[in-house]
Amino acid sequence: MKKAKNLTKLPAIFSAGLLAMPIAHAVEVDVSGFIRQEMAYSISNDQNPMNRGSAVVTGTLPDTSGGPDFVKQDFDYDNDWNMMATRAEVNFSIGISENVKAFVKVRGFYSANVFNDVSVESGAKDVNQFKVEHHGKCASIFEVCDDDFMIDLPSVYIDYSKDSLWVRVGIQQIAWGEAIFFRVMDTPNGLDLRRHTFLDLASEEYADERISSPGIRVSYNLNNNWEVEAFAQMFQPSVLPQAGTAYSVINNPFTIRNDIGFDKVDDKINAGVRLVGQLGDLGLQFMATSRHNPDPIFKWQAGGQTALDPAFAGLGYGDFSSQPFRSTGADGAIGAPGTGTLGGVDWMTVAHMSGVDGVESVNILAREFDFIGSFLAGQLGLPGPDYATSIEDGRLVLDAFSNAIGDMEASIVPIYASENVFGFGANYIFYSEPDTWLDQLVVRFEMTYTPDKKFTNNMSRNFIEEDEWVTGLVLEKYRRFSDNFPATFLVFQWMHKSESDLSGRHLRFLGGDANKAPSGGEESGGWDAVSFAIQQPLPGLIWRLDMNVLYDLNGSYLIQPGVRYKPNKDWTIEGFASFLDSKDSAGALQPLAWADEVTMRLTYQF
């Protein structure tokens, strides 16, 4: 089995860094780490609708273009386990001199073969969970990976500090802002969602997901109250769960061409500066980042299936291969026959689940790819520029396409748009009469403004470009309800985004289904969500109870009760359940609404 390797640069870079530092005394190395078994068992009758083995649309489907009904095979795949993984992390803390220290974290993650998608040709198949064509075949720059494991270096950095100056050079995570889970000012890094998406314990926030990259971070204390900080970091995109894996959010017939999208920005540097300080009792933050957004926007890519060019040459619409779709039944397809999208119902359903307007995306295909525009006008009598004006028109187009070439697949290209983000944050602790709800209530507020932010526009090459405001309000309170128990930690958060939802999908295209166009969310003034978290330690902190609730006002929610037991220094046992649902495709959590599960984690540290 061929393994992708990208570690060749690491020893040279790290050694060079160490050698550059003055060695004042013996180097001291402390080693620590843990090994953990992580298991997530599905407690829902639902399966991931994006995977072929449990596709949301199957069976007999009508063909409105006049042909016989389509039949999409229902594999009715049933995976009980969403995750069965073994994780090991080893940390090396290295003291080099009084002012120079280094830190290295090695993370290994092995995913056992408990989750399968279907191979149309041969039944169950193992899935690729980790290979991503960013750096070679892996996601991050120093990573070894294969279908079922990854070993990477989340941290390899050297700290230099002297007086008011602190410099961190190397692979590192950078987290900004004070809101938890809701990412307002937390703009420096993207997220790696390949392991357990964001369904780890919510109170851990994105500790495991925030994806690191090489960079330099400099902080300087201007005086006793104000600190200025800046970073410059190699661009590293977010990583979505891979197609066909347990938590995939990309419909199976669509391939993300990371190789093409990332190649355009693989030498880019994200940079930011912030000012943090205290003005009396008021804590303040001001930040600005200039970055390529690590969260991609998508556009169609020409399919390149030349095998069908001769078949369509007589129509005079141009080369079939110049448009995005490929027939899975012809040479040049990536997937096997029968794995693709079949007909208008399938198209509309999945498009709307993905935050894409199924009708408008047809029009964009027609406008941007001459072959399709000509096909719609010539074959279906739908002239442009608004070729399809209704769900029925859209279904007709896709039915006709499927009638012509069978089930289809396509490739989309992730684009990492450049943008500037400006932010402001404040925190204040209210003091009032002891034992009142206002006493020592922490209020945090954050706000960012991104001018001309780009959003996916139904896979068009012409992206939506709008200013986006993101605000977050956090109320935190420790409250002791009983003499016998430690204080309960209560957190209420509210997040508002003016243009997009939690994962950055533009509101304009949310809320549709096979029979209904998107209702959008702009009319209601943006996207809002609230979260409420309760953390109740028991005496001695040996047991801790958690309850986290995220409610998206568009109608989706995540409820996550959990318990943590730490009986001794060596062992930690955690269990938590995640309940998700969404009333329709407008919900931000709709892509994982099926994923009710119970997670257990057993950790041994050394």
Partner: protein, 464 residues
């Protein structure tokens, strides 16, 4: 060896202290005033009769220096122990070694702190808000014990609050062991603690105040360097000089990868699983003193406590493992060296600023010689005894070995802590060690501690 007049028996001392309390006389010393003796030569012998300077005399020969207090003889000194120490010895197998009473006061202080105490005696007063100021002014305190002969409970608390470690800057490397009801060590942590005063400085060439920190008393941080799941967890407390105000609290939690500001009123809860140490416990004065109320002096008299002989400079990393004994598995207590402390001031206070605190009151035994808390217990809301926080102090000198300050004087500090939750039967012991993981070493008055450990930037850097 000074000669002591034996006409003063134990009853004389007891009657003397009762009389002193009833008359509200707060000066230290029995035969003569204590502090003039300390000021002259540091020898306190003439201030107390022999029965208050010798356990052998006090117990009329039943116990002597070098003996060990255990369950077989603890009844003899029951009245000289706090109730939890008595419980530990009488029921849980704890042993305590008796050592001579320290009569040279220079062995009970860091050098510079004692000099400042002597130089500034009589110059402190409480202002109308209860904060310590230089008499006749609104200036913040200028260093050393503000009240060598405290007239009330609040003045006594000021002595242990304004300068915890009695150095301008202290960095403590701490090995922590947490023993569960089974008697086994269930949790272990390596803890670093740094505190730096900005006022009441005693070793600063520039004087008692540090420029730029006008309204602040100190910065103090605590961070964990081991084990793995707590490594990098850091908290920074910024104390205002005004003792009516709560400190500002900033924390770095590794999961969040960033520093966040936290409420600061939860000071009666463990920071990490299994430990029985609370922020409120530090130096028996872990909270600003005016957030507590009803401070009062409730008694005076002799007591047993640890004031010497606990620094293990000849052991690797100042280990006290050879002293561990007792409890269900023989892993609970350090064998501490106790001496007869001739005069303690017994204080009480109530957490009036913390209406939902699980504590109803604390009781502290302050050694009148150096005003350190040699015993400290708290009571729950039902008035039942709950926890003890026993600090053992020691000059860092052992035979020919010594940890010296910049001027060649032996350092002085706390050496161990026993923190015992008797209701849950959980026990924590701290040993101040030379160094812990992360390269943190016990140091006093080290340069750059502020930048390295005591800013928001610093605790972010300490996390990983």
């Amino acid at each position: 060896m000074p000669i002591h007049i034996k006409k003063y028996d134990v009853d004389y001392s007891r009657r003397f202290f009762l009389d002193k309390m009833s008359k509200g006389i707060m000066g230290a010393g029995v035969l003569t005033s204590l502090w003039p003796l300390i000021g002259e030569a540091g020898d306190i012998s003439k201030a107390y009769p022999e029965e208050l300077l010798s356990i052998e005399a006090f117990t009329q020969g039943k116990l002597k220096d070098g003996d060990t207090i255990d369950a077989s003889n603890v009844e003899i000194v029951k009245d000289l122990l706090d109730p939890i120490a008595y419980l530990q010895v009488s029921q849980q197998g704890r042993r305590i070694k008796l050592v001579p009473t320290t009569t040279d006061a220079t062995e009970l202080f860091p050098h510079d702190y004692l000099q400042a105490t002597l130089a500034n005696q009589g110059k402190a007063e409480l202002d109308q808000n209860g904060n310590v100021v230089v008499k006749g002014s609104s200036n913040q305190w200028i260093g050393g014990l503000p009240f060598i002969e405290p007239q009330n409970g609040l003045e006594a608390f000021a002595n242990i609050t304004l300068s915890w470690g009695r150095h301008d800057t202290s960095i403590y490397a701490v090995d922590d062991y947490d023993i569960g009801p089974s008697g086994n060590i269930e949790y272990e942590y390596q803890i670093a603690w740094c505190e730096k005063n900005f006022t009441a400085l005693v070793s600063n060439p520039g004087g008692p105040y540090l420029e730029g920190f006008d309204d602040k008393l100190r910065h103090q941080s605590i961070w964990f360097t081991a084990p793995d799941d707590t490594r990098g967890t850091s908290f920074l407390n910024i104390w205002k000089y005004d003792q009516r105000e709560f400190p500002d609290l900033f924390g770095y939690l590794p999961a969040f990868k960033r520093v966040r500001r936290f409420p600061t009123n939860q000071r009666f809860e463990p920071l990490v699983p299994g430990i029985t140490f609370f922020l409120s416990d530090a130096w028996a004065a872990g909270d600003p003193m005016l957030t507590w109320g009803k401070h009062k002096i409730i008694g005076r008299g002799p007591f047993l406590g640890c004031q010497s002989g606990m620094w293990q400079g000849d052991k690797e990393n100042w280990s006290k493992e050879h002293l561990v004994h007792g409890g269900k598995k023989g892993k609970t207590f350090y064998e501490a060296s106790y001496q007869l402390c001739p005069e303690v001031i017994v204080l009480e206070a109530e957490p009036t600023g913390f209406p939902r605190a699980p504590v109803s009151k604390k009781r502290i035994w302050l050694d009148a010689r150096n005003m350190v808390p040699i015993a400290y217990v708290t009571y729950d809301r039902n008035g039942e005894i709950w926890r003890s926080f026993e600090m053992g102090f020691s000059q860092q000198k052992q035979g020919h070995k010594a940890n010296l300050d910049a001027n060649g004087n032996p350092e002085w500090s706390w050496s161990y802590i026993h923190s015992h939750d008797v209701q849950a039967d959980r026990f924590t012991r701290f040993n101040q060690v030379e160094k812990i993981k992360g390269g943190i070493k016990t140091q006093f008055n080290s340069e750059n501690a502020y930048e390295k450990y005591l800013t928001v930037q610093a605790i972010r850097k300490l996390g990983s």
